[in-house]
């Protein structure tokens, strides 16, 4: 008899079979880009490690992250993840309310000091003493800091917690602030996107709760396994970009043929996310597949980088993808070279210089 409750105990209690459990481990290991040996390691960790509580808090937000999360594609994954983390506190779906709910927070803070994961959806507004987001009679920012004190690590869900998102758009009326500006002494993993892809969210939660550590992060604090690819590079419409074949108007002949949406304002060339590979709503599609460009919702400051319906044009020089693009262009011979060079360079530049200087 184990002295502590493990994930495996919880999972089995929820009625998940041993067979489903092993299947879950291999599926998840694969989706995280880990080898087959990782599946065994994962199973072992889940069977032996004590269960880590996950506290899910909501600040200024729109609940789109929760909405995405609960629809993670693989029914098995969702079942197991939900019962595994068992969301000790989440006011959107939990049973407890009011004081009872607050009590759960206090108890977790005490009993799992330094061990629990704090998942934050939304962000705190700092104007007017934080009163634009009042939670249980107190400004959210206070509750956030209080719960962060004793957390092992913090997950920043979505563009709100990671970067600020639309409520931080100029003039940012409430001074909505990303959480890493408020909490500076804890490891924070950013999972941006508005919302993030469900499978990315379940993947991150599973990794942390299983292995008890954060996955490898890039310089912006995002998990490399999901945010190291540019939408543009894995886009199924990329050949049309290279060939200079573009949609000029919504639902025109070119749109029906699935040409590139760059001229309709697509921000795929400057956006790092897994949309063009993992896709959305159970791998069914993603915005570009629906005939609309990417608006770059996982990038910092996307909300103030409009207009959303004009092409990217802030780069005039040539860069590393110059050759490949130019070959395609030469064949068609229509589109200006500035268009071609555009954004490949923009993205590379932005990603490497972001830390030093903010773009206008």
């Amino acid at each position: 008899m184990a002295a502590h409750e493990t994930f495996y105990d919880v999972i089995r209690r929820q009625g998940v079979t041993r067979r489903s459990f092993t299947k879950f481990c291999s599926l998840t290991a694969a989706s995280l880009g880990l080898g087959s040996s990782a599946a065994t390691a994962m199973a072992k960790a889940l069977e032996t490690n004590p269960r880590v509580p996950v506290i899910w808090m909501h600040g200024l937000e729109c609940t789109c992250c929760s909405e995405s999360f609960i629809r993670s594609a693989h029914p098995l994954v969702k079942d197991v993840v939900l019962s595994m983390i068992s969301l000790d506190y989440d006011d959107t779906i939990m049973a407890a309310a009011g004081h009872q709910a607050e009590a759960i927070l206090e108890e977790t803070k005490e009993k799992y000091k330094g061990k629990y994961i704090l998942a934050v959806e939304g962000n705190p507004p700092l104007n007017e003493g934080g009163m634009f987001c009042i939670d249980g009679g107190k400004p959210f920012v206070e509750k956030l800091k209080w719960m962060a004190e004793d957390a092992y690590a913090i997950i920043a869900w979505g563009a709100c917690a990671s970067w600020g998102c639309v409520q931080a758009a100029k003039p940012n009326p409430t001074q909505a602030t990303p959480i890493d500006k408020v909490i500076t002494n804890k490891p924070i993993i950013k999972v941006p996107g508005c919302p993030p892809i469900a499978e990315v969210m379940t993947g991150v939660v599973t990794f942390i709760t299983t292995f008890g550590r954060l996955p490898e992060l890039d310089r912006q604090g995002r998990p490399k396994m999901f945010y190291s690819q540019r939408i543009h590079d894995k886009c199924y419409r990329r050949p049309h970009f290279d060939a200079g074949q573009f949609v000029e108007e919504w639902d025109d002949e070119a749109a029906r043929k699935g040409y590139c949406l760059y001229k309709m304002g697509c921000k795929g060339p400057t956006t790092y996310n897994a949309c063009s590979t993992v896709r959305w709503n159970g791998g069914v599609s993603f915005p570009i597949q629906s005939g609309h460009g990417c608006i770059g919702c996982s990038e910092e400051g996307f909300w103030d980088k409009g207009p959303f319906y004009e092409r990217l044009s802030n780069i005039k020089q040539f860069g590393i993808e110059h050759n490949a693009d130019e070959v395609g262009l030469a064949a068609v011979g229509v589109v200006g070279a500035a268009v071609a060079a555009h954004a490949a360079v923009t993205a590379v530049k932005r990603i490497t210089t972001k830390r030093d200087s903010k773009e206008s």
Partner: protein
């Protein structure tokens, strides 16, 4: 007098706080607080008008398509544009999927789990309900959530991503559905029909749509639909007298839902419960009152109003303004839509109770699930795959325009003034702004406040469970309420 504050509320969308003044065990006054404000109306000003299509949906991750469609309707008015018929139909399929998903979440995740609480342990129905509906672990969740996720794959097919989809335009949709897409839509809808006919209604949806009176409903509970979750709710409702709970002020409105090539599926109108009659809706009689909101005084006409917070306002207790129609509070939502549309079962339920109530609100939502599943099937089959799905944009004209749409929870309006393609002014009134409005300058409470006043809570105080039923019967969306 005893003052009780209930909050944070669980299992509602967003943050909510309710303050009750209780005297001799009876609620004398209720105050409903929307405690969250982000400032969308302020930050939309000065942006290209079209960008509202990317910004506005982010008001809410639950009803994002409704927000997109209100912005698209506003832009359509500014372009004086006629949308492509295919575009309207495709939009309606996606919108119906979102609204069905909302109704389903409300029933299975938000509303029913309250009956699984320990305080009902003595009731004969409790063990079965607890097994099926308990929050987070009830067996119904394992059927309903996957069915809902699968239904929302229609959204994936049409809009690429959801929430915060981008495919919706003033002239239609950016995605032209091809034959394989149409087949997949038909298959997904058939699968969803299978779920509701098996678990929710335990009967064909046509049978539910044809229920025409309270008597027919009673017969359905004991007969054809006895095994369904719908019947389980109706039996509880009888035992707990949900029909007498949460009586609304009596005026219902719909701005017209699911605009197709031949007009709305559910018409626009104003329904008065007292006389059971629907009449034309005077859209220009909508005004906003800020006497009890943390908002500065501006114009009361939403076409000219601004939204600027004022935290020092005396008497204020919510970030929500109080919308009024000709000075009166109005209830919106599925019940209002079906009352205005004149569905015989809904009219009979309202006639019998003499007021809107907890039961009627829930029945109207479930009825809409049946109506919309059926309508979505028809729309999908009506697509003319070789025709356009999106009309060409026309130049944006200067001036004031408004776009209305019916979200799952009721009437949503976007008022905008446009000059040189830019937004000069933007004002949004969301469904829960109507239902959960604070009082106005005359002291008239909003619909939820009205519904809570007079409730007997005895010595239970905040733990009184009727309060939970009444609040949730409106299916609040707090992030939309004050935005």
């Amino acid at each position: 007098m005893n003052r009780i504050v209930i909050g944070p509320f669980n299992r509602v969308e967003g943050d909510l706080e309710v303050t009750l003044d209780v005297e001799s065990g009876i609620v004398r006054q209720a105050r409903v607080t929307a405690p969250l404000y982000r400032g969308f109306e302020q930050l939309l000003i000065g942006r290209p008008a079209e960008d509202a299509l990317a910004i506005a949906p982010r008001i809410c991750g639950i009803c994002s398509v409704s927000q997109s469609l209100a912005a698209a309707a506003m832009l359509r008015a500014a372009q004086n544009l006629e949308a492509a018929p295919n575009g309207l139909l495709t939009t309606n399929i996606a919108h119906a999927a979102e609204n069905i998903a909302d109704h389903l979440t409300h029933f299975y995740v938000f509303f029913m789990p309250d009956f699984a609480r320990a305080s009902y342990a003595a009731r004969s129905w409790h063990p079965a309900i607890e097994r099926r509906f308990k929050a987070m672990s009830g067996e119904s969740l394992r059927e309903a959530l996957p069915a809902r996720a699968r239904l929302l794959e229609t959204m994936g097919l049409i809009a690429g991503k959801w929430p915060h989809s981008l495919a919706f335009r003033p002239g239609g949709v950016t995605r032209a559905i091809d034959l394989s897409g149409q087949m997949r839509l038909i298959a997904l809808l058939a699968e969803f029909r299978g779920f509701v006919e098996r678990a929710l209604f335990a009967a064909p949806i046509e049978t539910v749509i044809e229920l025409a009176s309270c008597e027919a409903l009673e017969a359905f509970v004991e007969g054809a639909g006895a095994a369904g979750d719908f019947a389980a709710l109706l039996r509880i409702a009888r035992d707990l007298k949900l029909e007498e709970m949460g009586r609304g002020p009596g005026l219902l409105m719909s701005s017209g839902a699911y605009l197709g090539p031949e007009g709305h599926l559910f018409p626009a109108g104003l329904f008065n419960v007292a006389d059971g009659e629907a009449r034309a809706l005077p859209f220009d009689a909508i005004r906003e009152d800020v006497s009890h909101a943390w908002m500065r005084d501006t114009a009361s006409d939403p076409a000219n109003a601004e939204t600027i917070p004022d935290m020092r306002r005396e008497d204020a207790y919510s970030f929500a303004k109080a919308p009024r129609l000709d000075g009166r509070p109005v209830e919106v939502g599925a019940l209002a839509r079906q009352g205005v549309a004149g569905h015989p079962l809904i009219k009979d339920l309202l006639r019998r109770a003499g007021a809107t109530n907890v039961l009627a609100r829930i029945v109207a939502r479930l009825l809409e699930i049946a109506l919309l599943t059926k309508a979505a099937e028809t729309w999908t089959r009506s697509l003319q795959l070789n025709d356009r799905f999106c009309a060409h944009d026309a130049p944006l004209q200067n001036g004031a325009v408004v776009g209305f749409v019916e979200a799952a929870r009721g009437t949503l309006g976007h008022w905008a003034s446009i000059r040189d393609r830019q937004i000069l002014r933007y004002q949004i009134i969301a469904p829960t702004t109507w239902n959960f409005s604070p009082r106005d300058a005359n002291g008239t409470p909003g619909p939820l406040e009205f519904a809570l006043e007079g409730l007997e809570v005895g010595g239970d105080g905040a733990s009184n469970i009727a309060v939970q039923h009444i609040v949730r019967s409106f299916d609040p969306c707090m992030v939309c309420t004050a935005h």
